[in-house]
């Protein structure tokens, strides 16, 4: 064990952990929302994220940027980032909705058992990942370095970069926005009603299918934002980029309490930070190990996660 490494770099490891955790959290929202309403683990959500990373890249390529381009000036930069964001969010949302309409809704109509949903989710994930794998010859793609990382200020000797601020800021804004939307808006009330009791909600005049569609759209939009931030920060995508990050995001959702929006944020940040500490303390090869040990141990003591399952139980 290397305590020097951990404590010497504690602020830096915390920062980069938070930044990774924020992206986990954005993707975790998709799992949590769908689970909260449908009691379904949407394994295809990792591919919703993957589609977002690719479509943002294609948008930039269409705008004339590739992995070798120099960083653009402020005007074109904002245009490129906003265009990438809009396209990634739209593409991710469309993918999520397509999966719902093509794969899950027909099953619901036939009252299929939960196992059928589960295997359909895994199948949809495979189909999406493999079709991109075949289409892109399974090659890795580098991104244009649109926002070269620059130190804005330092805390405790760790430099905080512009991109880290962007990631954390955007994630917080999206989280607060989503939280307010679900808790305050009329559509949000519909989501909570269906999550609490779908049949009663239907009797009260809530259109269940429309609410479910909305949940997939919201999850897709958040994954699209996560995909754009991922592209900007890690500068890379590949057909199976969603697999590990999807698994981590799912774990983050469970860690925080699946079905709980704030739990997804907390779980994501916690997982990101703990993984980084583990990499510092034990070495990089122990990163995933420690993340999942944390999950297992925590679930032993709090089976419903840190904040519990609460999408349905949130105040009316």
């Amino acid at each position: 064990m290397n305590f020097d490494e951990l404590f010497g770099n504690f602020p830096a490891l915390t920062l980069t952990g938070l930044e990774q955790g924020a992206i986990y959290a954005l993707i975790a929202l998709g799992y949590t929302l769908v689970y909260g309403v449908l009691r379904l683990i949407n394994f295809a959500h990792s591919e919703v994220f993957m589609v977002g990373t690719f479509t943002a890249l294609w948008t930039w390529q269409a705008l004339g940027y590739n992995q070798n381009s120099a960083a653009p000036a402020l005007g074109p930069l904002i245009l490129a980032v906003v265009a990438g964001l809009v396209v990634a969010m739209a593409a991710s949302a469309v993918t999520a909705v397509t999966v719902e309409l093509v794969a899950y809704r027909p099953l619901r109509r036939r009252n299929a058992p939960p196992l059928a949903f589960l295997i359909t989710a895994i199948g949809a994930s495979f189909v999406l990942a493999e079709s991109f794998g075949i289409g892109t010859r399974r090659a890795p793609f580098g991104m244009p370095d649109l926002i070269p990382s620059k130190t804005v200020f330092t805390v405790f000797g760790a430099s905080v970069t512009n991109i880290q601020l962007l990631i954390l800021g955007v994630t917080l804004i999206m989280m607060i926005g989503l939280d307010q939307f679900v808790n305050r808006s009329r559509l949000g009330r519909g989501i909570r009603a269906v999550a609490q009791d779908a049949d009663t909600a239907a009797l009260m005049g809530v259109n269940k299918n429309r609410v479910i569609l909305l949940v997939f759209v919201l999850g897709g939009l958040m994954a699209g934002v996560g995909a754009l931030l991922w592209d900007l920060r890690f500068g890379y995508t590949k057909f199976n980029v969603g697999f590990l990050i999807g698994l981590k995001a799912f774990s983050a959702a469970v860690l925080g309490g699946i079905g709980n929006l704030r739990g997804a944020l907390l779980g994501g940040l916690l997982l990101g930070v703990v993984e980084n500490y583990a990499a510092g303390l034990f070495g990089g090869e122990w990163k995933d190990f420690t993340g999942f040990v944390l999950l297992i141990v925590l679930l032993m003591f709090r089976p419903t996660g840190l904040l519990g399952e609460s999408l349905g139980r949130a105040r009316a």
Binding site: E5, G8, N9, A12, L13, T16, G17, E19, Q20, F43, Q67, N68, A70, I122, S125, F126, G133, R137, R138, A139, P140, F141, G142, P144, D145, P148, S149, T151, S159, T161, F234, G235, Y236, K238, N240, V241, F243, L244, I245, E275, N276, A279, G280, G283, G284, E285, K287, D288
Partner: protein, 387 residues
């Protein structure tokens, strides 16, 4: 969950292949090795043609294909067929593919497996079937110590590449603080061990995982260690990402890596500015400066692409098999003894191919080159002196 499913499906597939392999083996026994060149024999290429490391595999496949196409042009009445086994560089996919190759009785020789990890699981299968292989690129030293009768290596191994990379770091870069990172693969970990033997004490070391994408923890460690050189043992995708994130965090040092990174795709992942100045070694001479008409033939055959790492080696070692087939060695056993006793100079590399009893290339023939990324291209730098 997904892995479990994949495992079940994989198990079924392997089972099916074992059975079909056994069935094929039974009828291949009746074929006698004639003295005239047999027709429609197959040479297999085993390596990644898709996936993270496909860039490396495709150049080798192209070298092999070029040799076979040229042979077929001269021997139009009795052709040799190229069979491709796309391993994606993944040791988990290799055994089933190896069984498939073994099960096809027309396959008399294999070029590959391209990587060390897949070699460790595929070579025992080839050994059992007596199917001769010559690898153009699997450089883990221990591959030649497993008593596989069929094993031949057409290049030097990491006991020449690793120390040479270490000497380059010490004598040319004159680095005092070297950080080493490997990807825990059979190739990457082995190469880093050899490098460490030469440079002595390191500023720090860490391990990453193949397919890892977020390197922030290791980036932090490298930066705080104050290292000015990073040696990376692994393949180009992780190398490109690691370097990109490292330079993004403001690191100013130089990355040195082995033949697994020596590919144009490294620059594609990292981007030209980031990759600039990176040193890549290879226990081979520059393919772009190969002898004879190889470079022009290669460009003409493959859309004007420059031959990449090991394309020339693959071309030459494929010709060894082709010479054997031409001389009437049409069974696996005959071709194996032909390769074992072979001695001849490759047209593209100029290397005299002669294998020792453990399958290693004659040590006198091994050379190690350093390459440098310059303006978005991998260009030859120097041949690293032997001591």
């Amino acid at each position: 969950m997904r892995q479990k499913l994949a495992r079940v499906l994989g198990g079924v597939a392997i089972g099916a292949l074992v059975f079909s392999g056994a069935a094929c083996k039974a009828d291949s026994g009746s074929e006698a090795g004639g003295s005239k060149a047999a027709c429609d024999l197959k040479i297999g290429f085993f390596g990644p043609l898709t996936g993270d490391a496909a860039g490396l595999g495709i150049h080798m496949r192209n070298g092999t294909k070029l040799a076979i196409d040229q042979y077929n042009k001269d021997n139009a009445d009795c052709k040799v067929v190229l069979s491709e086994y796309d391993s994606q560089g993944d040791p988990a996919k290799a055994p089933a593919l190896a069984q498939q190759a073994v099960g096809d009785s027309k396959v008399v020789g294999i070029i590959g497996p391209a990587f060390s990890g897949e070699s460790e699981v595929a070579d025992p299968i080839f050994d059992e079937a007596g199917l001769p292989i010559i690898t153009p690129s699997a450089t883990r030293p221990s591959l030649s110590t497993k008593n596989w009768k069929i094993f031949h290596r057409g290049v030097g191994n990491d006991t020449s590449q690793g120390p040479a990379a270490g000497r380059y770091i010490k004598n040319v870069l004159k680095a005092d603080k070297v950080y080493v990172v490997d990807d825990q693969s059979a190739y990457g970990a082995g190469l880093v061990d050899e490098v460490k033997k030469v440079i002595g004490s390191v500023a720090g070391e860490d391990k990453i995982q193949v397919k890892q994408t977020n390197f922030s923890a290791v980036v932090t460690k490298i930066q705080s260690s104050g290292a000015n050189v990073l040696f990376f043992g692994g393949y180009y995708t992780e190398a490109g990402l690691l370097l990109k994130q490292l330079k993004g965090a403001g690191w100013k040092g130089t990355m040195v890596a082995g033949d697994g990174v020596n590919d144009a795709n490294f620059i594609k992942v990292a981007g030209e500015q980031v990759a600039e100045g990176t040193i890549l070694t290879c226990p081979c001479a520059p393919a772009t400066a190969a002898k004879g008409t190889f470079v022009t033939d290669y460009k003409a055959a493959f859309d004007n692409a420059e031959p990449g790492t090991y394309a020339d080696v693959s071309f030459d070692i494929t010709k060894i098999f082709l010479e054997g087939i031409k001389a009437g060695k049409s069974s696996r056993a005959d071709l194996l003894s032909f390769v074992n006793s072979y001695s001849g100079t490759g047209g593209a590399t100029g290397v005299t191919y002669k294998f020792e009893s453990n399958g290693e290339l004659d040590p006198a023939q091994v050379l190690v080159w350093a390459f440098k990324v310059n303006a978005g291209k991998v260009v030859p730098d120097i041949e690293i002196p032997k001591s």
